[in-house]
Amino acid sequence: MTSGRPDAPVSDREQRILGIIETARAKRPKFRDERITMAHGAGGKATQTLIEGLLVPALSTGSLEELGDSGTVTIDGLGLAMTTDSYVVRPIRFPGGSIGELAVNGTVNDLAVAGARPMALTVSLVLEEGLDATVLREEVEAIAAAARAAGVEVVAGDTKVVERGHADDMYICTAGLGRLDERATLSPAGLAPGDRILLSGPVGDHGTAIMLARGEFELDAPIASDTRSLWPVVDALLESAGSAVHCLRDATRGGVASVLNELARASGVAMLVREEAVPVEAAVAGAAEILGIDPMYVANEGKLVAFVAPGDADAALAAMRAIPGCERAAEIGEVRTQPPGMVLVETAFGGRRVMDQLVGDPLPRIC
């Protein structure tokens, strides 16, 4: 690339311009957009600008500032994690799951990766006028079954109905409460150079399954969503490696690439990913190839990324692999110091490149 191979030493002017860019990038983004576009919901740069430029400055007094998957509160010495999420996936049914199951697992997973054992959920239903009662009944069943499987209790709820055309069948909002596990000392600040990056299984299943379920591509492939509770694998990680587990993230919207970029930026470290080590199902790789997308940016609903101290990484990986659904867990890279805030990939072809934040998302409403 023109920029990639400078043939002269860095001039003062170039150095100064690089400095200006770096200062601009390090600043908290300002929310200047005049309207909300679909890009604000895609999990990439526009979402980040919305959160960091509008929501956090207006609302934060502490825990929110960390922008973790859950917030934490301590009440009379008892550490609790809280989170909330809305589910607007279209279509509401897809191979491997449905909106009801997603609404439980998604929120449970936000608690789990904060190192909290999921305890209780609230469920709010926004239903569209005309929704088939059979569909509703089945989704309520799906919520109940997923809650049982995850070991959480639904303790409160709400129902609203909106006019036809104001919701796609149904939307679900869930909030979750969990108890912080004493074995867990998780925080983006805990990332240390040398930490190994572990991934709990193949990437891109959920997003690809939704994409194909929409029937817009005339493509057919046996790909199912990976929606599942991540608490069992978090439990196993904490049991095997305890405080050597430095940070966990749920690789949902924006995929593994977005999680790595967020953390690299938040912690001022670099990450190196070995593309060849990243597990991808053959059918997902094939669909991604045809559609021209990178599975690293595709959403998952049952995959976490763990950052573990090098000495405990092998034990942690073995513990992960013993959990059903995580048999293909893998070490995909490591934390480094340079260049800070950036994620680099060693491609399977042998080159290196930057794995950047997602700028736009071709596929809205996947969860």
Partner: protein, 371 residues
């Protein structure tokens, strides 16, 4: 994946990388332009430039069809999308390209019915499904995508679909290349020819590059081994004092092109006297419009398209960056008036454009020299 993985073999990549190193003259600096945005994408995705010796530099060409659309055309498209009862269809990556007054994505948020399609035939399908509304397809691309637009228009005409029209922004590859080559300050040693375009036009239209301008041109495929192979072929030509058009992508590109595709294009399109390119200005006979026989399906005739002209700010130096005369950071507006959030020229619009890549990865690019 069968028939794909073979062309991404890291071992063969290392072998080719060694051959390239053995072919270059130490102390000589080579600048090769990959004309096609698809090549730029592959180079970036696989880190191909990482496998090249430090004195072989790749310069991104003007061949990203989305990035070369001038702001005025985007604004015209947005105006059309806001027409009552219009369903405005385009490819997804077009929706984020800014005109002077926002993007199509923003127009959608303001209430315009903008829909992403994967093929012009999808747009025709939408037209048929919504007979009481007008469906407009915003057509972009080089000779690669022009035939599918042509076929769609032929079908719409044959079936008599009254509510379908096309806003044509198709461009041709040879005029911008000639414009680059005409420039006295050009600093390029050879061209990686556009594989996709060549499947349609063949290799012959590129013969003027060696014949008139004395630069080698090798038509290349899009897998990383294709690109390394083509680079080796160009460097071998330079080393042996040869200068010709060669076809690395023989498994797909016939030397004479695809006659059928050229025929449908000739029936449906005709050349515009000139067309504006983002950052490059007006280039004569570089754009296509619908021919008289298809005038009824031309959105620019059916609607009162404002015909917005937004002059690129004078200071934009995309042309010089593309010619390899200056580095992105040497441009007067780089990083100040022109940023990835508010791009002026084509090199900043695409995340893989030379300027955007430098803006985003500049520091990394420097550091990897040290690593």
């Amino acid at each position: 994946m069968k028939f794909v993985d073979e062309f991404r073999d890291a071992g063969l990549g290392r072998v080719l990388s060694g051959e390239i190193l053995a072919t270059v003259e130490p102390g000589r600096h080579y600048k090769l332009m990959e004309v096609c945005g698809g090549h730029t994408h592959s180079i970036y995705k696989y880190g191909v430039d990482d496998l090249l010796p430090a004195n072989v530099e790749l310069v991104h060409g003007p061949g990203c069809p989305v990035c070369v659309i001038p702001m005025g055309r985007v604004d015209d498209g947005i105006a059309l999308a806001h027409e009552p009862d219009v369903i405005f269809t385009c490819f997804g990556d077009m929706m984020r390209v800014p005109g002077a007054h926002g993007t199509l994505l923003e127009a959608k948020a303001e209430g315009a019915d903008v829909r992403m399609v994967y093929s012009p035939l999808d747009a025709l399908r939408i037209a048929k499904a919504n007979p009481d509304r007008e469906t407009v397809f915003f057509a972009i691309g080089f000779e690669t995508t022009a035939p599918s637009t042509a076929l769609t228009l032929m079908r719409a005409k044959a079936e008599g679909v009254p509510n379908f029209s096309v806003m044509c922004n198709h461009v041709t590859i040879v005029p911008p290349l000639r414009a680059l080559l005409e420039s006295p300050d050009l600093r390029l040693d050879g061209f990686i020819g556009p594989g996709h375009v060549s499947t349609v036009v063949g290799a012959r239209p590129f013969e003027f590059i060696p014949a008139q301008y004395g630069k080698p041109c090798v038509i290349a495929g899009f897998e990383p081994l294709d690109i390394l192979h083509a680079i080796h072929m160009i460097l071998a030509q330079l080393a042996e004092g040869r200068c010709e058009v060669e076809n690395q992508y023989t498994r797909v590109v016939p030397y004479e092109g695809n006659r059928k595709a050229l025929e449908v294009m000739a029936e449906v399109f005709e050349l515009r006297p000139h067309f504006e390119w983002r950052g490059l200005g007006f280039i004569s006979q570089s754009g296509l419009k619908l021919s008289e026989a298809y005038a009824g399906l031309d959105a620019e005739r059916r609607f009162a398209v404002p015909g917005v002209r937004v002059a690129d700010p004078k200071a934009c130096q995309c042309g010089e960056v593309l010619k390899g005369v200056i580095k992105p950071w040497e441009c007067k507006v780089f990083g100040t008036a022109c940023t990835p959030e508010r791009p002026i020229g084509t090199c900043m619009v695409s995340s893989e454009g030379a300027c955007a890549a430098y803006y985003n990865y500049g520091r990394f690019a420097r550091e990897r020299e040290v690593v």
